[in-house]
Symmetry: C2
Subunit: 450 residues, 2 copies
Amino acid sequence: MDERIRAYVLSHRDQALRDLERLCNQPSVSAQHLGLEECALLAKAMLEEAGFTVRLFSVPGGAPVVYAEQRGRSPRAVLIYDHYDVQPPEPLELWQSSPFTLTIRDGRAYGRGVSDDKGCFAARLNAVKAWRAVYGVLPCTVRWVLEGEEEIGSPHLGGWVAEHRELLQAEGCIWEGGGVNWAGHPTITLGLKGIAYVELVARGGNRDVHSSYGAVVPNPAWRLVWALSTIKGPGERVRIRGFYDRVRRPTRQEREALRLLPEEDQHLAESLGLKLFVKGVRGYAFRRRLYFEPSCSICGIVGGYTGPGTKTIVPAEARAKVDFRLVPDQRPEEVVALLREHLRTHGFGDIEVVEHPGGSAPARTPLDSPWVRLVAECARDAYGTTPVLVPTMPGSGPMCYFTGLGLPVAMAAGTGHPDNRIHAPNENIRLEDYEKAILHMASVLEALGR
Amino acid sequence: MDERIRAYVLSHRDQALRDLERLCNQPSVSAQHLGLEECALLAKAMLEEAGFTVRLFSVPGGAPVVYAEQRGRSPRAVLIYDHYDVQPPEPLELWQSSPFTLTIRDGRAYGRGVSDDKGCFAARLNAVKAWRAVYGVLPCTVRWVLEGEEEIGSPHLGGWVAEHRELLQAEGCIWEGGGVNWAGHPTITLGLKGIAYVELVARGGNRDVHSSYGAVVPNPAWRLVWALSTIKGPGERVRIRGFYDRVRRPTRQEREALRLLPEEDQHLAESLGLKLFVKGVRGYAFRRRLYFEPSCSICGIVGGYTGPGTKTIVPAEARAKVDFRLVPDQRPEEVVALLREHLRTHGFGDIEVVEHPGGSAPARTPLDSPWVRLVAECARDAYGTTPVLVPTMPGSGPMCYFTGLGLPVAMAAGTGHPDNRIHAPNENIRLEDYEKAILHMASVLEALGR
């Protein structure tokens, strides 16, 4: 990569850390409606200082979307997605330093949101700053979307994206996250699963009844159990008709990439105290299920008396929270419709299906996309080692709104490391990863300017 | 019946009410360990005043058993079972008068325990008093057991009975409860269902896991659902092998008695807001299921996240509280053993079965027993109308310990009426029912002395 840019980055570590500190010291907890407006304004100010034209889009009932644009020498453009909100810092007593006071010790920066996702934002911003400081202008055009509701499921982002497609034109998108794996290789992740989250509600009498009436009074806990057992059995295959119809078989390249990923099942099994995973999968079969198969989980179930000891009742109501994790090309709204149809045709039309907002479609960018090739080459350049291509994560998120525009999306040029403790006390990033993320982003800008 | 006895009872209403007041004004809430010792001593004093020799048996970790005996002219004996403990009075704000201050209004006496079961005890005691006052001696021998833990499942009574069989010899037993139905006919009830109460515990990882791992991490909520659905399906028949083997077919007489019972399904359906009962049963089919069929109820189920909104986890644990209501000759300990075997053979040996104490066997006295005939004739005598024979109640209780001794047991000579609000605020009895209960008991004593 450009040697002057590299030299600038390496000699301006303090400046980059000060940016990180400004961001992390501003609390911005979406779940607690804390400091979101303030953090949006701070991000706007920092982007403007780095030469961006910035617009704040207020979202009725939500946190503002920050949109920034800066034209470069080339009209080729990259779109960056980040979020300025963070998880709640609790439990506070487990933090070794204050969560909203960025603290450096032993080569790491500690603070709530420093990894997820303020470190990424600050790193990418410092890549822009380096180009402007050295050459006065960016090699390519940069467009940036920062939302403030990622940690609560991005309830308004899909609507905003649909209304502002014209602002989002680019050759590809750099997604929040990215970083290195345990072995120190940079990872480039190309997809997320989708999610549909429903609550099944079974109702019996208008109040709990003494269980001596159990022989005659309909029991909603039983009905819920029976309905659930028609949805998935011990064979672990979802029995909803049509559920798998849109599941796209992973490409040979995707399977090959999955094969190359490091083993993780043994470590996870030990950590959870498990002897076996579902269907006994290990190694590649474990990863294949985890990354490429849809799933259906009971996240919670409750009905009747759940306290200590005994209480002899037929409950009035029973509920189950169920999530479906979806793979391309399943669609959350279609899965919920199929579920309703399934319950009706299996004699459980009395069970109410409450769909929770915040569902999202799966997203996946092909491994052989030119954008992925470009981002991977820049990673090799910045990190000096071969990047690992990850076809998808098992988690979910708002990536679908961007792939839905036809954009290739790569989660890369981030500050992540498996030991970052995101969402947990003592969230941190390693300073070396922060620097590498700046270099990777600077290299992507350079590549796009060629 | 003996006219001098009848005249004495009718002219000593105030004395009988004062006894009721003494008992009801002494709180004795077993669930709250409140006043039990005091109430046992009060019952002992009142029994002694009525000529009984009384022994207090202390129960390690429990409330004392009061045992009383009084020999009469005839060595023929009746055993009476009552309990001196009551349900908690809460919610207090719904009482129109203080729960522990007996209050008379509009022909009823109000107070916690006045129906269940202090009214029965006081009525029966006043039958004894009448005989002693008029003739100086009882016509027959009376043995009496009062326990103080009925409302918490009689955890120590079975053991006490087994150790004191020699004190319990009698021709038959008068059980707590009894009274009149809505139509004003006295009821004589001859059985209770048994009960076994278990908790099924399914365990997964050692902590909740993000549900993006739902495709690979075993989900105990699913396992619990699957295990439960093997125990009973929508057909409502319990699928545990051997579960029905000991179910004794009701006799022709029992079925005939059931046919004569008043309809109750429509009233219950309206009260609960239900369109249909299990399997659509109505009328006789409803009663047949309710009284003669065993049942299996999920009384409570819980696992994972049960709060508002969404949380995406695979739970570490899920639990279900399940009760089995048993009919003769099922045995609670055998049912639990069959359940364990069922889970093992159906691949759910990983699910723990925790058996709760307080299980009890079913109890049923034959309708054609001489004891039943005697009690029924005395009821006709006391109430001036035909009694209704009820083969069994759908509820459970410690009656099995006494039928287990070979004693015929009849729930009769009590102060009950369907509007007594037992276990609820404003528990009450009608003064006319109190008087009738005294007369019925007095008549039973007379009949035994012939």
